[in-house]
Amino acid sequence: MPFNLLVLSCLLYVVLLFAVAFLVERRAARGRLGWLRSPLVYTLSLSIYCTAWTFYGAVGYAARSGLEFLTIYFGPTLVFIGWWWLLRKLVRIGRQHHVTSIADLISSRYGKSNGLGVIVTVIMVVAATPYIALQLQSVVLAFGVFAATEPGGSRPLDPGQIAVWVAVGLALFTILFGTRNLDAREQHHGIVTAIAVEAVVKLVALLAVGSFVVWGIAGGIADVIARIDAADLAAWQVQPGRWTGLIFLSAAAVICLPRMFQVMVVENEDEGHLARASWAFPLYLMAMSLFIVPIAVVGLERLPEGANPDMFVLTLPLAEGQGALAMFAFLGGFSSATSMVIVESIALATMISNHVMIPLWLRLRPKAGAGDDLRQVVLMARRIAIGAVLALGYAYYHVSGGSAALAAIGLIAFLGVAQVLPAMIGGIFWRGATRTGAILGLVTGFVVWAYTSFLPSFGPGAALSAQVFAEGAFGLSWLRPHALFGTEAMDPMIHALFWSLTLNTIAFCIGSLLTFPGPVERLQGAAFVNVFEGSVGPQRWARGQVEPEALLTMAQRILGEDAALALFQEAARAQGKDGFLPDPTPAFLDGLESRLSGSVGAATAHAMISQLVGRATVTVEDLMAVASESAQLLEYSARLEAREAELTRTAGALREANEKLTQLSLQKDAFLSQISHELRTPMTSIRAFSEILTEGDLPPETVVRYGQIIHDEAKRLTRLLDDLLDLSVLENGTVQLNVGLASLQGMIDTALTAARATRPEREFLVIRDLPSEAIYLKTDADRLTQVFINLISNARKYCDAPRPELRIVVRQRGGRVTVDFIDNGKGIPKDAQRLIFEKFARLTDANRAGGAGLGLAICREIMTNLGGSVAYLPGQGGAAFRVTVPLRLEAQAA
């Protein structure tokens, strides 16, 4: 395998990538992306999760620690198949708020605080630097493998030189395609497509090597399975702590890694793509891991003792004389490394320029050159940042000497970026999370991570002295980097994971609970947490005193002349104005800020606008006003509802009263005719008989008979008038009561005897319970007896059963006695029940009635005067009345 051919193919491959990126950018510029915006490209671009660490390192990992390498892919698998929980929300927030990086997300959520952006940027850069160095190292190692097989045996290039060339080449590519334009939404179609191509290359390369190992070297799947069982591959012992911890860690990393955030959220074109990626990306990961174990097992078998297992993917085909396959594998590894470095450096450069360099620039030259094009400054800052990131990576590689195993560095980087997790998850699910909490958590997590994981990774005596390792910082044994608080038994990696994230989360929660967020922070918190509910809440800007011209100048500096003019013209038209200068309404300022934040980040955009508008942003009072406004609305509508219910109730009562009145009026009319009839009948007979008597000449017995009739009729008249008089006395409450002690049983006896005069021909069966009637009441016995007589007479009159019965039930409850009179007739119809106690009321079949319909009315008035009541008792199988009297009538009731 000639070494020069290798270099040449490498260069050709890079040219291919350039061409792909270039063509796509051109099509994007013409707005014809078509299938290039498909979910497939999105899914493939996500594959930058699989770096050279996967491509080379997974085999080494498997050779060293068995199946543990799978945990690195299980975490992302769980996160993606559970996209409905978290990723969906993350992508929605990213699109709605024009998030440009993970630092921008955090800073925007916590009140557009640039300080937070800087902290996240620092963490990300520190964590990513070794990771980038790792990629450079993998390329150098791969070159080394081929150089060693060179027939001449000499190394034409020294490793350092290769690393420099790779770093410079990558920087060039990234600058060329990553900073072509300052897009409103930080998207790079060319690069994303190139990444997708690289994803295919590395997958196919690994599958090719794997297939060769399974079917070329071993004799098929069954043979491989036998070999796996035969090999004593690294004492596969599941360590529960590491297994669980690493699944968690990789799940956290796939969300927090800057490059993953870049392709997953920032470069996302369409939320629907996420649904496809939710299963397609895990499938890709599975395909990548499919042949790792066979390659590791066969490699250990075939290759000499001491061969670097990290390079099995290359050395195995080479040892078998498959030069072309080895070169393909080399290209696969090369693409894994380059795609990761490209996207990582873009993501980091965006953070560095938006959160560090531009704010610094604006602070150093606040008003200088208001006309100059800030876009060039931003782009230049990006370019410098990309160069700086790659230079840092190279420096780390150079200093560390590229000796450490690949997997170890990868995990340390994972843990570093995972420190953002609490602030991020807390920020999008918990409105109570505050900036102070986030800062405390991030700083705590970063310090603990650096102390327990990052600095010790340089080895004893390098960053931390051997003494610190043995005795702890300041000689405090509970501060040993690998045994914080005396937890010696833990695996160092899990130890660092446990302590950094635990202390991070604790600091974050305590800080959030104890502090009070500012107004912008609260607004942003609500907007992030409730992102699916649509409304963002109140406007962020009060109506400012700013000249629209100044805003236009500023927008031109960032968006470019054409884009800014188009934006302003559109806004002016929306406000119904001609020209390019809309009024600086809160809504317009909001839209402008969101547009600018797509280019320079939320914090910077916010700062720039408030520089012009003044500090007239929203205050806590505004928030409260909005909240109380809506609360008042709610209260008002609740009050309206209550009032309406009350009105309905009143109307119902009125209707009922009206009905009663109408019916009573009818009754009264009926009564008048009745009473005149009642009065007239006796009067007529009295007149007629008295006329006959005055004519004389009658036999004496006839005179006696006629006189008797006149006398009876006069008595009837008197009785009727007595009743009317009695009723009016009772109603006026001027009745004189004779209160005394009397036996209830005696009263009922009297009443029964007296009532026998009514329709004496009917034989009633009276059912009584004598012992229960042995009660002495303090009341007006005559009046009460009158009520009893009336009720019993009514029963005798109206009960229509063939064998009439009357049941008298007496009960004593507390200070009251009830007496029920129940007959077995057909009772009183329901609609008549309400009227029977009214004066002059009489049921329709008046034929048998003897009175004028005053009896029950009198009863009711008597009972009221006696402090009790009389009521109709429905549902007793006949007409039933309940008389309730107090046991002791108080004297003043009279």
Binding site: G66, L67, L70, F74, T77, L78, V79, F80, I81, G82, W83, W84, W85, I225, A226, I228, D229, A231, D232, L233, A234, A235, W236, Q237, V238, P240, W243, T244, I247, E271, G272, A275, R276, S278, W279, A280, P282, L283, M286, L290, V293, A526, F532, E533, G534, S535, G537, V626, A627, S630, L634
Partner: protein, 87 residues
């Protein structure tokens, strides 16, 4: 800040199915975690070397999760615009 307008308490058949599909999508990672942590309960002392059965188990579980996620994804994407009633 402001409460959302009242949502219907009961749903027709199609939205009901869509909601349950979301529930299933939410539960899927829980199931996955359970299956992937299950090997921790296999007696660790008796097996000192890697066995092919372990490898096959993990890949079968993995494939199963992918297939389930693929089955859920289209339905979830379809219901997106119709009603936003999340969290």
């Amino acid at each position: 800040m402001t409460r959302r307008p009242k949502q219907p308490l009961f749903l027709a058949r199609a939205p009901y199915r869509r909601r349950r599909l979301r529930d299933a999508a939410r539960l899927l990672p829980v199931l996955g975690l359970f299956l992937l942590l299950l090997p921790l309960l296999w007696a660790p002392d008796s097996r000192m070397a890697l066995e092919s059965g372990d490898v096959i188990y993990f890949f079968v579980v993995w494939l199963g999760l992918v297939l389930l996620a693929a089955a859920f994804a289209p339905g979830l994407r379809g219901g997106e615009g119709a009603e936003e009633d999340e969290d």
